[in-house]
């Protein structure tokens, strides 16, 4: 399949999730009080502020080093994107300062509102993890699925729903750059994701991103509105751990 057709296929896959996420963002974010707005900004700060170093360290590993400049375009795009992401993290922190929620942006590091809710943390670590794969998988999962297919619609609905000018400004000021990141995803996947093997892995990344991002937005919405997270089934009971066999250390095969 051509890269272009693959992007079209992924676009069709993402549309229902994007529509649902945008609708729920529109409903949730109208009439936010100060406490709710602070929770929203603090959680978004987490995903772009303190994690920027993790993204950088991980994502650069996905691009093979090539002295002939074969992947120079991807490197330049990623450098610019990481700069943008760091800037967005600062926007959230500065909005909290401007609103008077905190006095100093460093306060966010220890604030309970900026501790990620479970699905939000899950989604963040997934984005970091994507750097362990080939860069077409990274660009399909992060830039294409998340920033290209879902986030623009969510961002548009968010800007429309928010009333507080400062909170609205934070999201509005990112629109062009998020569109750029989405286009990077489309460009890189179209150009480099051409083989069935790469496309299979990229499709897995897109599907996982869609699932995790939908869960993340559900958790985030619940936390912003009610200060709690979505209840999940209890973890398996391991209290009877004595019956589990102890794992033996690995030994070298002596027969060879």
């Amino acid at each position: 399949m051509r890269g272009k057709d693959f992007v079209r296929e992924m676009d069709a896959l993402a549309q229902p999730v994007a529509k649902m996420a945008a609708e729920s963002a529109g409903e949730l974010l109208s009439n936010l009080n100060d406490d709710e707005a602070f929770r929203l900004l603090a959680q978004f700060w987490y995903i772009e502020g303190p994690t920027i170093g993790h993204y950088s360290r991980s994502w650069w590993n996905s691009i093979p080093s090539d002295p002939t400049g074969k992947y120079g375009d991807v490197e330049l795009l990623l450098a610019r994107q990481l700069y943008d992401e760091s800037r967005h993290g600062k926007l959230y922190a500065d909005a909290c300062v401007r609103k008077g929620y905190i006095q100093d942006s460093r306060e966010l590091y220890g604030h309970p509102y900026s501790k990620p809710v479970p699905a939000w943390l899950n989604f963040t670590t997934w984005l970091i993890h994507l750097g362990n794969h080939h860069f077409t998988t990274l660009y399909a999962g992060e830039q294409l699925a998340s920033e290209g297919l879902i986030f623009p619609q969510v961002l548009k609905a968010t800007v429309k729903a928010l009333q507080d000018p400062v909170v609205k400004w934070v999201f509005e000021a990112q629109e062009d750059e998020e569109a750029f990141h989405g286009m990077c995803g489309k460009y890189v996947v179209t150009k480099y994701c051409q083989t069935p093997e790469l496309q299979a892995e990229a499709a897995w990344a897109v599907e996982t991103t869609l699932r995790l991002e939908a869960e993340a937005f559900a958790d985030l919405g619940k936390f912003v509105k009610d200060g709690i997270t979505v209840p999940r089934p209890a973890p398996p009971d391991y209290s009877n751990g004595a019956t589990r066999t102890r794992r033996m250390p690995r030994v070298l095969d002596q027969s060879r």
């Binding site: 800037r87 600062k90 926007l91 500065d94 401007r98 100093d104 400062v166 400004w169 509005e172 000021a173």
Partner: protein, 74 residues
């Protein structure tokens, strides 16, 4: 009553060094769609002015940080 403050001009290249060095967190993202920084006048403590204030000392662009007067209303 007016007080001396520092202000950021259009020459700002958005490097963010003023934000990191300001001891009073007065330099923050400007309230515009264009990504620049601004100094919140109420928070600015002058810090000795040009050549001494960390924001000016570390600013890489000549003329991006200038002195200004702020009229306090209280």
């Amino acid at each position: 009553m007016s007080k001396k403050v520092l202000a950021i001009t259009e020459l700002c290249i958005d490097c963010g060094l003023c934000r990191e060095t300001c001891p009073f967190d007065a330099a923050i993202s400007a309230f515009t769609k264009k990504h620049h920084y601004e100094i919140i006048a109420q928070r600015c403590e002058w810090c000795g002015g040009l050549g001494k204030a960390p924001c000016h000392v570390f600013c890489p662009v000549d003329g991006a940080i200038v002195p200004a007067l702020y009229e306090e209303t209280v």
